[in-house]
Symmetry: C2
Subunit: 411 residues, 2 copies
């Protein structure tokens, strides 16, 4: 297996851009990444493109990657269109990485893109449901709503915000309640995570939200599904992010500056399991650490999949940054803050940087590459040498339909 490096990254700001298309967002991200890598688009030899919802959102299925790449004058190379819900572009990254590691090509692109701000709000919310099994989604919806109502009654909450929303928030809320019950995790601990991410994203010019929030403000915000308040949940958004990969053999020829080495790239999909069987995130982390020959103690900075604050809490346990059940206290003690011992989501995470689904995995890698190159501006984690990304997507049984973990190291 050949060594593969990341030599450039780029992304659009995430947000609500109703005058932009998948083509224009992708062009901005890819051109930024090419410039960052110091190469021309003609030097690209393979491309993988991650997107989750364009088929439903825009009618463009099948060849979505070729369509956006052609619009920026890129063609005649292998293009793989890869889907894995919220983990689409991290999965695309793995496909380009495999191609280069195998020796088929030397220079590749991984692009993630999503356009979610549709005129029709019902259609926008319905996008997420494509990331679950259509045959069981109706039955689950009823169960989740009954459970949320029950939990809201017990907590004395009015349960407002229980109307139109993504079903995923109910899934996360169910899991959070299970965790609170088993480990004594508190709603305040979730609010600490959310406030930390909003603080970080106030330092990130690419973030959808750039205003900090206090723990009290997060707790006082409207409830989406108990215990999750609105700032604890990722918004919908538009955006794109791009990563340029290159073989170790070609680094010198391309004159690559500050290349970041891919130490591990792992994808695993969920399965039916019992409540006490290991989470797919934990299994994927074990595989990634093994591939890298590293452990959680080696990680200096991480971007994890905080589709909700509970997502981050569970992820830092699965990545073994803390013991199982200790994600709440570990976060509350400030360990994952920008100045903590293991900063998590310095970008602001999905909660506050934003979550244009197909773009998220590539954007996480983009942030870690910036961090490892010392280019993260006001949110720079000092001395970061090894970083991790954790990107989950979709829902199957009790867990993510796909989980992608990368471990990256500065050269």
């Amino acid at each position: 297996m050949r060594e593969v490096y990341i030599i450039g990254v780029g992304m659009t700001r995430f947000g609500k851009f109703q005058d932009q298309s998948l083509k224009s967002l992708s062009k901005e991200a890819v051109e930024s990444a090419l410039k960052h890598a110091g190469i021309d688009k003609k030097q690209l030899q393979v491309a993988s493109v991650g997107n989750a919802y364009a088929g439903i959102a825009t009618g463009q299925e099948s060849i979505r990657g070729q369509v956006v790449l052609r619009a920026m004058g890129i063609g005649g190379l292998p293009v793989f269109n890869v889907e894995n819900a919220c983990a689409s572009s991290a999965s695309a990254f793995i496909v380009s990485w495999m191609d280069i590691a195998l020796g088929l090509h030397d220079v590749g692109l991984a692009l993630g893109m999503e356009k979610m701000y549709l005129e029709d709000r019902d259609k926008r919310l319905s996008l997420f449901s494509a990331s679950m099994d259509q045959d069981i989604i109706q039955a689950f919806k009823k169960m989740a709503e009954a459970s949320a109502k029950d939990a809201a009654q017990k907590s004395g909450s009015k349960g407002e915000g229980g109307g139109k929303r993504s079903l995923f928030m109910d899934v996360y809320a169910l899991a959070a309640r299970w965790h609170m019950n088993k480990y004594g995790t508190t709603q305040r601990q979730l609010a600490v995570i959310s406030a930390k991410n909003h603080q970080n994203s106030s330092l990130n010019p690419y973030s959808q939200y750039q205003e900090s929030m206090t723990v009290e403000e997060v707790l006082a915000a409207p409830l989406v599904s108990y215990p999750l308040t609105r700032p604890m949940c990722a918004p919908v958004g538009d955006g794109a992010a791009a990563v340029i990969l290159c073989s170790g053999d070609a680094l010198k020829k391309l004159g690559a500056q500050k290349p970041v080495k891919i130490r591990a790239a792992v994808q695993v999909s969920g399965r039916d399991r019992g409540m006490d069987a290991p989470d797919i995130g934990e299994l994927a982390a074990d595989k990634a650490y093994q591939m890298a020959g590293l452990g959680p103690e080696d990680i200096n900075v991480a971007e994890v999949h905080d589709a909700t604050a509970f997502g981050e809490l569970r992820a830092i346990e699965n990545m073994k940054f803390c013991a199982a059940g200790q994600g709440g206290p570990f976060s509350e003690a400030g360990n994952t803050a920008l100045t903590g011992k293991l900063p998590v989501n310095p970008s602001g995470g999905l909660e506050s940087k934003g979550h244009p689904v197909g773009a998220t995995g590539a954007a996480q890698i983009t942030e870690i590459v910036w961090q490892l190159r010392g280019e993260a501006g006001k949110r720079q984690v000092e001395g970061a040498r090894i970083g991790l990304t954790e990107n989950g997507g979709g829902n199957i049984g009790l867990e993510e339909a796909a989980m992608v973990i990368t471990i990256l190291e500065r050269s």
Copy 2:
């Protein structure tokens, strides 16, 4: 790069199965392939799933592979959902091949599936348009219709069948007229190709159409878009096909019988080009022959992408089975018939075996594996040792958005 083999294949019959779902079709194909390989589903370590239109057709985007695999009790392994229009499952095959060739896993699945017979006929026809750039499809439609009207007038044809149809037939018809004009290709030569494919599929129990047609019957059939009559065009259909791949290292452990070696697996996507620049199919064939260390003279049997009879004509030129411009006479002389010197589309091809888009690439590989193992029944090509598949998908500029070629050899 490790050697990779195909150890089992399976497919559903192609056709109109309104009581079947993607789950049931896929289950039938995967279970057949596992049985053919002599392994259990628990032995699968990686899966790639090709599908083109489920997002639009059924609302199931993002994690379509995980959804159908879970329904047959397969999970906990990496799943890549791959799209490339009509080349979706051949592209998925390449992803699983890369994974195993790289040494990440030993046993993998490539699955193709499609459900096109929707209740709503307009929606069914609209599926194909997802394989083109949505922004230019309207402009192109007008141009193609004007050209077809003009050609029909010149040929004295009444041009019936010019109503609702897939725009792809117009694209193929335009290209056919260009070829007729440049090389003197005749409509009868296209009819010979179509009649040969209908004859072959009368011997194939997996075919959508199992009645043979004469050249005269093909010519007398309703016109779709001059020079293409209805039997020269692939129908829509439902179906699934599955391929089990395995590393050379694991062959013995699995007790694999009659493994088929993957000599080449190449994907290239189209680009903007001038009319006289080489077709992407030709470039892909050159790459595939180079990877295999073989030439067109080594091929004993081929399955090519005859979305129309002209597609086969152009493919056999691109594969260099005959000289450029000679696809018509070469076919008319019987070279590509089952008893000819280089049988093409022994299965009946897309025209007559059928074309459930996302399943087609895997079904081509399935047919070639059966041929190389001597398991093709009444349509067996005697002594076939090396086979080729050519699978194109979508449309970008003048050519396919994706072109996948494999070269396979019996052990």
